[in-house]
Symmetry: D3
Subunit: 316 residues, 6 copies
């Protein structure tokens, strides 16, 4: 199998295909243009600068395309990067499918799907069960391929389903420890909480915010889908069941300044908010520590108040 | 015509019918119960305490009922109040319709309706025009009878329509001064911005928050109605027109900590937020200054950072 | 068995012994003194006012004493209370041991201790294991009888151990879901995180803050105990192991404004902070919802930004 | 007439005279010096970098001078800029008057002056009328030529008068809608509210803050002028009229953290604050959207919490 | 000499004359009126309630009057109070001059004046020296008799001069330790920094805010006096000396949210802000600790973030 | 004596030895590496960039080494810098001891030590006196050579002792002005307040944070030393004396968000916080103004809310 980005050691010469995740054209202080790339494959993401870019280069090397790279693996201030020797677009017969190079969730779709099914069965309330089935069916493919975010945590293909599944597993532990929590409501809310991202984001490759994503936002976008589902499924929108489920999604950011139009006023909504936060925090820390040497502090993490994290020495 | 609450002078004996707006049962420090009332009629609201309330009194004198009051008009720390001599429920043939005692907007419904029609005609964009007509028709009666809030500003029957109309008039001035503003969008957004309150609140008498009001909130409640309207009217929900209109409503609280799931990212949404704020501020100040003597400061206004306002002397 | 406080229905006459949890002497508006009590037994806490208290009453009915109460069970604005007919101190032979009336954790000490032992075994790192054993042994009795707080969450005898155990159970689920988390460190930190409360608080009856509690605080108080333990156990204080463990405790409030002198800079410290927060939140919500009727909102919870929580109807 | 900056299309070669608005000398990463320019003429402002600047270049091409430019019009990340081929100072007979190149308010002075006079007549209170006349007369020329700010909104010649006039027109609409507002006070306050900027700023060309501007600020600087005016006009400084007018100016930033030594405690002061904010916001959004393509988001606007604004497609 | 308030022990019967500092009429829960008093004399302030007040009592016992009191000295929740047996206005020949009962600064006027003169001589800069002399002369009597605040710190006759003098003494120590500080500027700023309070407040007895105090504030009020002084003394207002002195006063609250229209941008202004804060804090703590028992915490101090302070035991 | 950095005038050629305080390797936009240096000697610190650095250069010119520099003294945007012509490491016999080039406190160690001894004698309480002596003896050498911070204020050798001494001198003035302040407690707290920095920081040359510094912090590090001292000296840790002293140190940052685990609840702790703040502010302003021209504003100071400070003209 072909060597991937992080199979190369520091200072080793590289020769591989990768996906252009982002390509920003900038102007150097000497007036010429250069491209600031993020390349990726299954092994992760890496930065690189391409100096003195011609108009043709800019035209060729755009976001979402696969390229062939020769260069050298370097490390600069704890950030891995490539010193580029040469770039070219794939020739006929060479690897050219972006999906083959997108970082993916650590579990595969069929395995995740099986786990989800077990959770679906635990939703005993019929209203919630029907709505959840309807919407997961409607957005099935996107749910299992979209990332959970453009950057920060779970920004990989399948990240949305993977993040959702992690929360469900934590939720299971919570309902076992605290038997007064409504398991059906917590699971239904957890499954739908971020589903609006399949409308907010453009997809797993070269992920952007859609216009609806920017002007409406994923919280309200999925709320609207619940309302539509009620109409299709002939469920009374004014029923307590529907109001509770909508509240689970609307309140899951916890604080209004984080975009929830209401704060949690249900025990299960408060718990969902905590679990969402916990899983996101762990993924952000993991992402940063994966590229940190033992005995060092990671880069600062924007989503965690700009804190950096220490990776202990001799950790077994 | 019968004398109303504020027709009585301070220290004058009172004998009148009024509506019980709120009735809170509390326990006095001597252990007996008393009722803390707010009475109202068209002339305004006034507080009163009813001491040593029996269980029968508590049963009789509930929120939303009309009562006959004898007592004395007093003033206590700038707050008008009644010293109650006697309370009884109306006998047959005496006034008994709560709606006859609810404070009302300073303009009557038919006059406001006429003005609204003129604004409707200025919405040239067909998508927005259809949605606005559909929703105002659907909620016509509530729109013209509901208050704009439980307390604070515009807490009177017809307050919702009156507040909306005031904003439209200011919006007209803005579009005349700044000709690059999209008048249709600003008017459509202004008309719908608070319409969710007809679902959030219970009505003009003994106003309470509904369960949906508490757990979903008026901003998302009207957003959902726009989505439904699109389905009924066969309008494409993904069109830019619909997204822009939804953004107008979602962003109108300006800051996320005030309950908007998104901040304004459209010029017209930013303007709507300012005008909503301005009209609400003016009504709060007016409400407080109406009961303030010249040369004095009003009570502190919760919705304006607890500030009090000075009423100048000799103001002509 | 004798009937306890919450075995009585609303409006039922009461005749029972209970513990005086707090007794505040106040002056009524008529100038006489009264005592504002909180009584408690295993079934929970209840308020009561004792009017026209004599100096002898004030002397007799102090915090931490058992009393015999006759009265009536009432409910006032969602807060249960007792209307007192008569109070007297126990006669010889009547129940008189405060510890028999202190609310207790839902699990008994021996059961909790067994569970703790299982967790202790999972701490594979010898430094952490030794320090944890040393300190839990040193404060064994206090650890299993102290509350976790004076009020708010886990304010019952055994609350400290119970809160700690709940966190450990959640921590177990986290380490199963995220295999890169250091289980030994997370468990050791969790066990010690609030142990300083055995110095900060005065004990399970009539709980007060000690002078050290007020001027040093439980976070630094347990940090100091770790330092002492190192000296006794001949462990190098400058070793990474000790620094990491201290950081776990020092950072567990998450934000400096909540009293942590440092923010979390270790993945395990960040996780401990989340789990502590989650368990405390759940206990606060449970406490409030236990006294709330279905279909109603609970009282506002100070420790959760003053939010109130809805208890759904027909919850099975 | 000569072509102006924004008459050139993207990628078109340019040959024109313009004013140097700012000229910052910086050091490039290769160690040589370059000048970062903002050029302007009536059509707007544009950035440009001048590489490898000699000491003579730095001496020649300073803020406030007119230069002849040859270059190419480019666009870089939504920011228009010029690629400079050559710069030289005007030769004899070539355009050389900075005032001919300063961006100007969209209305000319005589038209604005006429409108102001109509507003002056509406100030019926003699105290306010005399003070306003005195100060506008004293600073007449500066008032009609100064910008309202160094950057952000209304940063063009005549911007101060234009901003003031916009507020007066909005104020007129407010007083028509709310007849209990004191028109004289609102107009007098609006006219004077930013007049201190004629002392705070250095003038319309190469605008800087004066020492008084930095250490005293425009709010207190105009307050001091009102005090002086009272002395010249023999008006009692302790009179309510004078105190009210001073309060209008002192409170117009609304919040103390924005530099008002007192918050608004007069209805008219609160309204003036809202209108000032509204007009400034609209001008900032207009400025950003003027250089934004349809269907795109503008650059982020510092004065509006860093938000960017969407320019809808197909806007007619 | 007559016994004063705090010469009486707890539970001792009292018989003395005192000044009514404040008299608030309130309505008891039984519907009758009572007066909530603060009495004072040189020994301090004490609260008392007067039950079942008649209209004549309310008329007689107003703020600013001397009364004869018989009653009992009590202590209630760390707050000293009087249980009133009887009140009457002084008869002819009995003490009746409010000034004889106002709490006073611990140093007398002549002693303070002498110290001030020494500081005046240290102001070597002629501009500052002249302005300071002019204004202290103009407001001499008020400066030495006014309090520094209505409540909180230095709320006693002569408090303004005493507070100013304390700051000057600290300023002297600062200039000795840091020889690069401009002593003249620091002293001049310190002397004038709170002088605006002689216009903001009504005087030493029954202290209220004036209308100017409320709508303009003491910071701007003294700034205006400096401007006037310049005109009388023929000093150039635009000179750096005057601008620096004005900045000292305008910036002395340190943060704009505390009412300074500009933050400190001069070293001496920053230092003055610190010293003002330090002296005010010490006086607030002293005031609270003076009435606290050893080994107890004081009441919470509003001006110090609601903190309470511990008074150590055995303090010699 | 050899010329030092700031003995050279702007544009003068330089030839001197200096210490490399920091050396950051960065990548230029042309892809080559450069080193961004801060050099220092007794006269102060200065920046410089070294272009096109080879791997050998990077290896040679590291933090903490002495180098020989030839270059030119320049000034760039109020920041002094060196244009480097050549760098080399010292040859045998040339100056090579970093300690000879570290900026030092303006007072020498023996003079400071003498002053400290006088303060030690003023600590009359035996508990505090013993602890202070024990700890100052234990860390004597570090106390007199460490800086008080890595950057910001007192970042020079001996800065810790110098900062401590400045606070003691201010504390002396405070205890003279306010005779009710406990001098022993204030002095003892002042001496120890920052002593934890000898563990938090690595030393006077190439100062870094240690792992304990990052994960525990200087406040808790010195608290732990006090606890240890009590054990060695056989002092009761639970005594009020020890609790008070620990509180002095723990609370000295004033606000919890600045890292104090408790806020000040002792008068002396509040005063220590103020004096610490005052001395740090003065040193930061002095540092910035020392490199500012008269009539100009300094650079912005991060530790003072980003404010810049004006240096008046003609200051004698």
């Amino acid at each position: 199998m072909a060597k991937e980005i992080f199979d190369y050691k520091i200072d080793e010469n590289m020769d591989l295909f990768a996906l252009i995740k982002t390509a920003d054209v900038r102007i150097a202080k000497n007036g010429s243009k250069f491209i600031s790339f993020i390349f990726c494959d299954h092994s992760g993401e890496i930065m690189a600068k391409f100096w003195d870019a011609s108009d043709e280069d800019i035209e060729n090397f755009q976001e979402g395309r696969v390229v062939h790279i020769t260069g050298k693996r370097e490390n600069y201030q704890n950030n891995p990067q490539i010193k580029i020797f040469n770039l070219h677009l794939p020739h006929d017969g060479e690897p050219n499918d972006p999906l083959d190079f997108v970082p993916r969730a650590p579990e595969d779709t069929s395995s995740m799907e099986k786990d989800f099914n077990a959770f679906f069965l635990e939703i005993k309330n019929q209203t919630w069960s029907k709505i959840v089935h309807y919407l997961i069916k409607k957005y099935h493919d996107r749910f299992f391929t979209f990332p959970a975010a453009k950057k920060n945590h779970h920004a990989f293909a399948g990240g949305l389903a993977y993040h959702t599944l992690s929360i469900l597993r934590l939720a299971k532990a919570v309902t076992e420890e605290y038997d007064f929590v409504d398991r059906s409501l917590l699971y239904a809310g957890a499954i739908l909480h971020d589903l609006g991202k399949v409308i907010e984001l453009s997809g797993p490759i070269a992920t952007r915010y859609t216009l609806e994503g920017n002007l409406v936002g994923h919280i309200v976008l999925i709320d609207e889908q619940i309302v539509e589902a009620c109409q299709k499924l002939d469920i009374d929108q004014q029923s307590q069941d529907v109001i509770l489920l909508r509240h689970m999604i609307l309140a899951h950011h916890g604080l209004m300044e984080y975009g929830s139009p209401v704060q949690p006023h249900l025990m299960e909504a408060e718990i969902l908010h905590h679990l969402d936060d916990l899983d996101a925090s762990i993924q952000m820390m993991k992402g940063a520590l994966d590229h940190t040497e033992e005995g060092e502090f990671s880069e600062r993490i924007f989503g965690l108040d700009g804190r950096n994290f220490y990776k202990p020495e001799d950790k077994k």
